[in-house]
């Protein structure tokens, strides 16, 4: 397993897809801070959605970076997962790997471990850029720099990592199922950005919301609820999410484990042609 993780890390450490997505997530986080800073300083008269400068200071960094986690971060994670799993088939590297010695499941779980680590790095970039941006805003505005409690930072990092990992697992599973990266990422993005949203709205509308609990089992609903649970009075009043943070964590973790196991079963059983 160690050898497989080492090999997976070596092949992915400078992978263009990871480097580009790291750059995008850093740029988007900085952009969110920049735009919100501008909006906070130039509120339109009567704008009820005006951004409070208080949300951009370091003590609110955990709550603020959640906006980059979903759906943008999730969509990026799906793309990465689909590319990582699907390209193994289109490049013929799956057969090269499987004929080297480690078993199929060892190879798969090594890949998942490295992918999860890369999602951790993306999460770290998100937080570092968010923290740096908040320090810039606070410095310019002459506001004291104070950070959230370590436990809150840890919870925030864990929440974003989980959202990225679950959506990445969707991409990995689709890439493994379809054995083609472009098709897999297309299907994944359409599902997360369209199909799931439509399905949840439809389910919620049936019989005055009698089946809302089914809609609450979807990945997007739980990811949104988990990230929305990170808020503070500085962000103004917000509706309480219909799914609790603990339940969201459990559902997302179950999705992650389930998707990894389903993909493992596919890899174990299917011929590599």
């Amino acid at each position: 397993m160690i050898a497989t993780i080492k090999a997976e890390w070596r092949k992915n450490r400078f992978r263009p897809a990871f480097l580009v997505s790291s750059g995008i997530i850093a740029a988007i986080t900085a952009l969110i801070y920049g735009v919100n800073w501008y909006l906070a300083l130039h509120p339109t008269a009567g704008d009820r959605q005006a951004v409070s400068l208080l949300t951009l200071y370091p003590d609110q960094v955990v709550n603020n970076v959640m906006g980059a986690g979903f759906p943008l971060g999730a969509a990026m994670a799906i793309v990465l997962g689909a590319l990582i799993a699907g390209s193994e088939y289109s490049w013929g590297t799956m057969k090269t790997t499987l004929t080297q010695g480690p078993g199929r499941l060892t190879t798969w779980f090594g890949r998942v471990v490295v992918f999860a680590a890369r999602m951790g790095i993306l999460t770290g970039i998100l937080f570092i850029v968010g923290a740096a941006s908040s320090v810039v805003v606070a410095s310019f505005e002459g506001h004291a720099i104070a950070w959230p409690a370590v436990i809150d930072i840890a919870k925030g990092i864990g929440a974003i990592w989980l959202v990225l990992a679950v959506n990445g697992a969707i991409g990995l599973a689709l890439g493994t199922l379809i054995r083609h990266s472009a098709a897999a990422l297309g299907v994944g993005l359409i599902y997360v950005l369209a199909v799931e949203i439509i399905a949840v709205r439809f389910i919620d509308s049936i019989n005055s919301g009698a089946y809302k609990w089914i809609g609450n089992l979807f990945v997007g609903q739980n990811a949104t609820a988990l990230l929305q649970s990170f808020t503070s009075p500085a962000f103004g009043r917000s509706l309480a999410p219909s799914i609790g943070a603990e339940q969201a964590v459990l559902v997302l973790a179950a999705y992650f484990v389930g998707l990894v196991i389903v993909a493992a079963a596919l890899i174990r059983q299917r011929d590599v042609t």
Partner: protein
């Protein structure tokens, strides 16, 4: 001692296509074994089963003392099945290091195999920029990383120019020296004739013959040039039967064991027939192949 042994090895795909049908194959230690067959005959499917990429529908195989796909067996096998598969954004050397990591091999071996395939000077370039010949060489280098007992190469000269093919043939010949066993699949007959000790011919998923190259070439017969040719033809027909005797460009072609040439010469001379030429017919592997596979030459 056999390194590869199959028994009733069969693969039927989900769409009902019978790709490999009860193949009984035996590859001995230290030999270069040519696995011949036309395109679509079942060569690659058989090789994929031997390295564990495809599971047989029925039958068994033992490869390097283990069942196909067993990590202990794979540790003794180097393979290049179909096109070499590497990461296009990594250099040749980095790709080999990835393969070495998967196989738990020290990276020192990477430079050794790059040297063997004469790719050291280009090892720093990205795989995506490699020519077909360089890709094939890198594939062979990856197969050699483990210093394997058994090397399985599927159409290694595929896509190469004549110069590249000649170099690859030389490389395979060198690799096949000593105790290493090489199982080489190809549909290029001169290549197999030059490199291999034994061959197996597959057609429509069935192994139609398995023998040494010499046995395969030597089964044809004897060519007799004699005067008067009509009398010689009559006598030889009496001796061997109508089916075994035919005319060929003023000579007579006999389907018989060349070991009986002395007897044939004596009988012709005794009958007062002058024999100017009597020699075994060395059919090419190409001719043998087309006879065995039922393919038409030049088609």
């Amino acid at each position: 001692m056999t390194v590869v042994e199959t028994s009733g090895l069969t693969k039927r795909y989900g769409n009902g296509v019978l790709a490999v049908d009860s193949v009984e194959m035996s590859v001995r230690r230290g030999e270069v074994y040519g696995f011949l067959g036309p395109n679509g005959a079942g060569k690659t499917t058989t090789l994929r089963m031997l390295v564990g990429l495809i599971r047989p529908t029925s039958g068994t195989a033992t490869v390097a003392g283990h069942t196909p796909g067993d990590p202990a067996g794979l540790a003794k096998i180097g393979s290049l099945v179909e096109a070499p598969g590497f990461y296009p954004y990594l250099s040749g050397r980095e790709n080999l290091k990835v393969v070495a990591d998967f196989a738990s091999i020290n990276h020192r071996r990477v430079d050794e195999v790059l040297d063997i395939v004469e790719l050291t000077s280009r090892a720093g370039r990205k795989f995506g920029t490699y020519s077909t010949g360089m890709k094939q060489r890198l594939g062979v280098a990856a197969a050699l990383l483990k210093d394997p007992e058994l090397l399985i190469l599927d159409e290694p000269t595929s896509g190469l120019d004549p110069q590249g093919m000649a170099e690859m043939r030389k490389l395979i010949k060198d690799i096949g020296q000593g105790n290493r066993t090489v199982l080489l699949s190809s549909h290029l007959l001169p290549e197999v004739e030059q490199i291999c000790d034994r061959v197996g011919v597959i057609r429509g998923g069935k192994l139609v013959t398995q023998s040494t190259v010499q046995e395969l070439l030597g089964k044809e017969g004897v060519l007799v040039t004699a005067q008067p040719v009509d009398r010689a033809f009559e006598l030889l027909t009496t001796m061997f039967g109508v089916a075994a005797v035919s005319r060929q460009n003023g000579s007579i072609r006999l389907q018989t064991d060349p070991a009986g040439s002395l007897e044939i010469n004596s009988r012709l001379m005794a009958a007062g027939i002058g024999v100017s030429e009597l020699r075994p017919i060395e059919r090419s592997l190409e001719e043998a192949f087309f006879q065995l596979t039922g393919e038409k030459q030049g088609s």
